[in-house]
């Protein structure tokens, strides 16, 4: 608690206004077109990909006329918050913006991303899988970003623990539940996973695998379909595991969870292709004992997976140089040398299909015990199910945090299903009260 002087009382009311007015204060003339015309075009790039500046250096060395400056962001959510505030204020946005796929409808709806379909080459679309390309066009003729990386989900597990306990790698969700029960029974401290109420993107990926798509477009109206049979099935399944106590109910990405991965009390993780980086950072002591397998399946005959994470690079509506910016993001995400640098420096799983097979051959260092790592990954990437995000996915995600936090606290399977219903209601109400055309 911090104590405040009397004047702070009033400043409280002004908190939001201060942000907006302070940003708009420097609104005019900070681009200085006249002076800039002679020098190189300067572009700023908001990204949170590690070592992106090294990749950008390759571009800057070859393009003296278009110089790109990397501005490091904390991550997907804070970057979007900052961008939307800058858009609202009328200035302060970068030229180029990394954006997670699920944020694109929201950014387009806030008029934060420019339509670059006019400046992109015709061959760009051919570099990407249809599902991925659809995420940056929203199924329209416009193009709002160029895909950078994708995050197909897989199952990561401690192969040594599975061998010790004589458990086979689960290929279906029934087997996963049985394995979770066996592991927790053998050692009550040990869990095969945790249900995290903090990671809406993770849960979205799980429902995507089961065939859910939380939004849809019906003519000129949005459809909200969070509360579908597929989502309910997933929620009920996980609620059952939490209720039985065979799966942990604490959030991921806490110091406690990191420690549990490292000390061997969390022995499995349903994660995505970028998991090796996280495991190497958090569970260094367990190097060489993890392996990756395709996700457990609902229907063993129809392998499927979802995605967790993955992002694209877009040009903001405030950019003074959209053409150069579009040229840069095309190079960044489709040029073989750039994609190779993204793999080497930033450790991403590229969305560009032709360049990625070339760039990804050896397994990540943390998984050097699994030579076929990227073969399995490519196989799972081919089974990603279609999924549509909507313009208020932020509302759906924050509803996920709150409603599933209640459910995991309650440890009841019925509470998990209630949480899905509440998410549907909150998301739909928000869309309607904002004035979107909604079809029910």
């Amino acid at each position: 608690m911090r104590l405040s002087t009397g004047t702070r009382i009033a400043a409280l009311a002004a908190a939001t206004a201060l942000v907006a007015s302070a940003c708009s204060g420097g609104g005019d003339g900070d681009t200085g077109d006249g002076a800039e015309a002679a020098g190189p075009v300067e572009l700023t790039f908001w990204t949170w990909a590690p070592n992106m500046e090294k990749v950008v250096d390759l571009w800057n060395a070859d393009h003296p006329d278009v110089q790109v400056t990397v501005n490091k962001q904390d991550g997907g959510d804070p970057a979007v918050t900052k961008l939307l505030t800058a858009i609202k204020a009328g200035s302060g946005a970068p030229d180029i913006m990394q954006a997670e796929y699920q944020k694109i409808p929201q950014l387009v709806s806030a008029d934060a991303l420019a339509d670059i379909s006019g400046t992109l080459g015709d061959d760009v679309a051919g570099h990407f899988a249809d599902g991925v390309w659809n995420a940056v066009t929203l199924g329209s003729d416009a193009v709002y970003a160029v895909p950078q990386d994708s995050g197909p989900m897989q199952f990561y597990y401690r192969a040594d623990v599975f061998a010790d306990l004589g458990i086979d790698v689960p290929t279906t969700w029934d087997e996963y539940a049985a394995a979770a029960a066996t592991i927790h029974e053998k050692d009550p401290e040990m869990y095969l996973g945790t249900f995290s109420a903090n990671d809406a993107g993770w849960f979205t990926g799980l429902t995507q695998q089961a065939g859910a798509s939380w939004y849809g477009i019906d003519g000129d109206a949005w459809v909200v379909d969070v509360d579908s049979d597929a989502t309910r099935k997933v929620a009920e399944y996980w609620g059952g595991l939490v209720e039985d106590g065979v799966i942990d109910n604490k959030p991921m990405y806490t110091p406690e969870w990191n420690a549990a991965l490292n000390d061997g009390t969390q022995v499995g993780w349903l994660s995505a292709i970028w998991a090796p980086g996280v495991l190497a950072g958090n569970a260094a002591d367990t190097a060489g004992s993890w392996e990756m397998a395709p996700m457990p399946q609902w229907d063993a005959n129809a392998p499927a997976t979802g995605t967790w994470g993955g992002s694209a690079t877009g040009v903001t509506s405030q950019s003074e140089h959209p053409e150069q910016a579009a040229e840069f993001i095309t190079w960044l995400n489709t040029d073989p040398a750039a994609v190779q640098a993204l793999v080497d420096e930033s450790g991403i799983y590229p969305a560009d299909v032709p360049a990625s097979t070339e760039a990804l051959s050896d397994p990540p260092e943390f998984f050097s015990n699994q030579p076929d790592f990227y073969e399995v990954a490519a196989q799972t990437a081919g089974t990603v199910q279609p999924f549509t995000y909507g313009p208020n996915i932020n509302v759906a995600f924050s509803a996920y945090n709150d409603e599933f936090a209640k459910a995991t606290k309650a440890k009841k399977a019925t509470a998990f299903v209630d949480a899905v219903e509440a998410m549907q209601r909150i998301t739909l109400d928000d869309l309607k009260s904002s004035g979107f055309n909604v079809s029910e």
Partner: protein
């Protein structure tokens, strides 16, 4: 202003100015009337720019809303329109907002008496004649106040998490089954504890400073009357520093209504803290997660008005008793 020539003979410059006014006519007298405004101008400009205008803008925003047309994609899909009182109505009718107010009320009931009670006890102990190592103790108790709330929350967060907390290692070694503070309703105490830890030192210094200002004659008189140290503390010290205690109470109440940093920092660690756990967290969520500045502005205005009413109401209630006896 009454004639300066008669009331302030010591200030040599004043009579001269007054004489000049009389002899040189209306233009200088106009300038004289403007002079105070000149001195006030910097304060007025800063006040208007950084306080009045933002408040007015926040109030303006609270009566506005954004309407989306069609699918809401691309430029021109959103227009700002007047919303009347609908933002206020939905804020006041929102069960999440009311729940967050209830939480903050309970939090305040825990934090304010505990923190001020500890601060008073520490201040009295430091002021007691027999205390040793007072400078060290004072600094040690004050030090947590210098730790930013985000840092202290992270620090305590690690200590609360059973998986990484050294406390829980000790509990396990002793065979105690201590529940996690992040499960269920105990989280209230987890957050309150951080506030008490961080705020006690500051309040102690305020009360201690007031104690130091008590004239020593009072103690001599009390000693002559045979008063014990405890009697001196309760019958002389506490009544005299009561205005300080009331002031720190008001500040603590305001800080309680504004609690934000601690629960926000702890939220990712616990299922028991929602994104609308306190009123300000709801404002933040509405403004920056949901992108709805308008209802966030309305909620801010409601919180500001409530803060005014509460702090001035409390002051009125206790003022006559606390400050009355000085007259």
């Amino acid at each position: 202003m009454t004639s300066p020539t008669t009331t302030a003979p010591a200030r040599a410059g004043r009579p001269a100015v007054a004489t000049a006014t009389r002899t040189t006519g209306p233009s200088t007298s106009g300038r004289r009337r403007l002079a105070p405004w000149g001195f006030l101008a910097p304060a007025i400009v800063l006040f208007v720019l950084f306080l009045a205008l933002p408040i007015a803008y926040a109030v303006y925003l609270s009566f506005r809303t954004e309407k989306v047309s069609g699918l809401g994609l691309g430029a021109g899909a959103r227009t700002e329109v007047w919303a009347g009182l609908s933002n206020y109505a939905s804020a006041l009718g929102d069960p999440e907002f009311l729940a967050s107010v209830g939480r903050v009320a309970l939090y305040g009931l825990i934090v304010v008496p505990t923190m001020l009670g500890l601060a008073l006890v520490f201040a009295l102990l430091l002021d007691a004649r027999r205390s040793r190592a007072t400078t060290f103790s004072r600094t040690a108790i004050f030090l947590p106040y210098a730790v930013p709330a985000v840092i202290s929350s992270l620090l305590w967060g690690f200590l609360y998490l059973p998986g990484v907390s050294p406390f829980y290692d000790v509990f396990d070694a002793l065979g105690w089954d201590v529940p996690s503070l992040f499960e269920g309703d105990l989280v209230m105490f987890a957050v309150a504890n951080i506030a008490v830890w961080g705020g006690t030192g500051f309040n102690m210094i305020v009360i201690y400073t007031a104690l130091k200002a008590i004239p020593s004659e009072l103690y001599e008189a009390a000693e002559l009357d045979g008063a014990s140290q405890v009697a001196v503390a309760t019958r002389i010290k506490v009544p005299i520093v009561l205005p300080s205690i009331i002031m720190t109470s008001v500040f603590s109440m305001i800080a309680t209504l504004q609690v934000f940093a601690e629960p926000t920092t702890l939220r990712p660690l616990s299922n028991a803290i929602s994104t609308t756990w306190t009123p300000l967290m709801k404002v933040y969520r509405d403004a920056f997660t949901r992108g709805d500045l308008y209802s966030a502005a309305a909620t801010s205005v409601i919180i500001a008005v409530a803060t005014f009413v509460l702090s001035f109401g409390f002051l009125r209630l206790v003022q006559s008793r606390a400050f009355g006896q000085e007259k």
